[in-house]
């Protein structure tokens, strides 16, 4: 496959992440491997910011040089971290400068056979979500075109990652909102159900529900749900009330009390 086709294919793959469900780790491995091939570097590492403001290594190609990237994180210095913290590309540093800026990392890199390292930020509209590290075993400057290509690839991946994260967060909040609202309505309904069954008021029924929830160690919402479903045979002894219109002792289980209920859905 020609280089142009490879690039084209990769953009399509990355762009797919914007629409489909996708696997973050898979995406990043694809990106890392493609960069090794297309940018003529020998290793690529990808780091993503975690929720606590730190950064984690998420993908590396080839696996054999992964420990170098881990070392960078461990000693908290290196081009990838700089790129992440500044949001700027860190490219084509001379060896002298690299030694000065990241003494421990550069020394380890040399020991692993890496001579040149570059880093590009994963960035979208001011939000920096990580960085991409490109490493070479030869003293190699990245051409402008290659830097641009690398950044373009990283940008597409970033969009996908941020969208996925936003969608996940929003969906979670939407579900919480629904559940919280539905629960509140259900509690009111359960007050009515219980009030009618025991011949009391909704206010008194609410006190019974709360008391039962406390003593059984369950949530008010789940007690309400059970009352509505008819699976909780409450009302009488357990809630301290005589059932409306029935003898308090007729056919009653001393612990749960109550009478058979039709489930109310």
């Amino acid at each position: 496959m020609s280089r142009e086709s490879q690039i084209g294919r990769l953009f399509v793959t990355l762009a797919d992440t914007l629409v489909d469900d996708f696997d973050v780790v898979e995406l990043l491995h694809t990106l890392a491997e493609a960069c090794v091939e297309l940018l003529d570097v020998d290793a690529v590492g990808l780091m993503l910011a975690d929720l606590r403001g730190g950064i984690q290594l998420v993908a590396f190609s080839p696996e054999s040089l992964q420990s170098l990237e881990m070392f960078e994180l461990q000693v908290d210095e290196g081009p990838c971290l700089d790129s992440f913290r500044t949001g700027e590309a860190v490219v084509n540093m001379s060896i002298t400068n690299a030694l000065q800026r990241w003494p421990r990392f550069t020394a380890e890199a040399h020991a692993a056979g890496i001579v040149a390292t570059h880093a590009l930020p994963l960035r979208l509209r001011g939000e920096i979500i990580g960085a991409m590290n490109l490493m070479s075993a030869s003293e190699q400057m990245l051409a402008e075109a290659d830097i641009a290509l690398g950044q373009a690839l990283a940008d597409v991946a970033t969009i996908g990652l941020l969208q996925q994260r936003a969608i996940r967060e929003q969906s979670l909040l939407a579900e919480q909102l629904q559940t919280a609202l539905n629960s509140r309505v259900m509690i009111e309904q359960a007050k009515g159900v219980l009030a009618e069954r025991t011949g009391t008021t909704p206010a008194e029924a609410f006190r019974d529900l709360r008391r039962y929830a406390r003593s059984s160690g369950t949530t008010l919402a789940s007690v309400a749900h059970a009352v509505i479903e008819g699976t909780l045979e409450t009302a009488s002894q357990s809630l301290g009330r005589a059932p409306f219109g029935r003898s308090a002792t007729a056919g009653v289980d001393s612990r749960l009390g109550g009478f058979a209920q039709h489930p109310i859905h």
Partner: protein, 236 residues
């Protein structure tokens, strides 16, 4: 997909001084801003759940409030359809077609001076979290540009609801959302009571309450109050 820059702009405008004004009802500001930005007479935002429950969060005026209450009382209306179909329901002239689809709602809305209604669902993916109802007292459609703007406001409304949820400790409900729960508490309680009285499920019980209210030409909240206070009893 609405330009997220426009949505961000709407949100920024509405929340400009929120830090300095404690407890300000930001959703109230949103519907007011919406009414000012568009050629509409009023707007309201309601939350909706997948169980068919709903509540008003904010409205620009009493007519907008009535539009929400009618739909709750009758269980029919454009915003219900909007949320179910997950698409805007645009009715530039309420006298046409609407009376066939939602006869009781249309009669009530026209009686209150509503001539056109535009309902926008508040969606998060496949989940409907609410609706924004915009109305005008004269017939006429919204322009393409207005529709885009209205959609931006709807998106902003969605984000606002999610922000409210994010700022609340689950499973609590944010106070702005709880007001409608409190004002309709007796309706839900009455639903439970009627379900037992008539030995039916809750959905059917609510329909029975609505029918009783409609037949008596009374608000469902009033009927519910009577049920809870045992002045009205449903017999099978």
């Amino acid at each position: 997909m609405i330009s997220s820059d426009r949505v961000a702009h709407v949100l920024a405008d509405v929340q400009a001084d929120v830090e300095t004004v404690a407890g300000v009802q930001v959703v109230g500001r949103l519907v007011n801003a919406c009414q000012q930005a568009l050629p509409i007479t009023g707007a309201g935002l309601s939350w909706l759940t997948d169980h068919g429950q709903r509540g008003l969060v904010a409205a620009t005026d009493t007519t907008a409030q009535l539009v929400e209450e009618l739909q709750f009382s009758l269980g029919e209306g454009p915003c219900i359809e909007s949320s179910q179909s997950r698409r805007p329901v645009l009715l530039p002239d309420l006298t046409r077609l609407a009376s066939q689809r939602w006869p009781a709602f249309t009669a009530g809305a026209l009686g209150a001076g509503v001539a056109a209604i535009f309902a926008f669902p508040l969606q998060v993916g496949a989940i409907s979290v609410g609706v924004m109802d915009m109305y005008r007292d004269v017939v006429g459609p919204l322009s393409v540009a207005d529709l885009a703007e209205a959609s931006a406001f709807a998106s902003a409304g969605t984000i606002m609801l999610l922000h409210l949820q994010a700022s609340t400790r689950y499973p609590d409900v944010h106070p702005f959302l709880a007001t409608s729960l409190i004002s309709r508490a007796e309706v839900h309680q009455a639903t439970g009571m009627v379900a037992v009285q008539m030995d039916v499920d809750l959905g059917t019980a609510l329909v029975l309450l609505r029918s009783r209210a409609y037949a008596a030409d009374r608000d469902i909240v009033d009927i519910a109050h009577d049920v809870v206070n045992r002045r009205i009893r449903f017999e099978p």
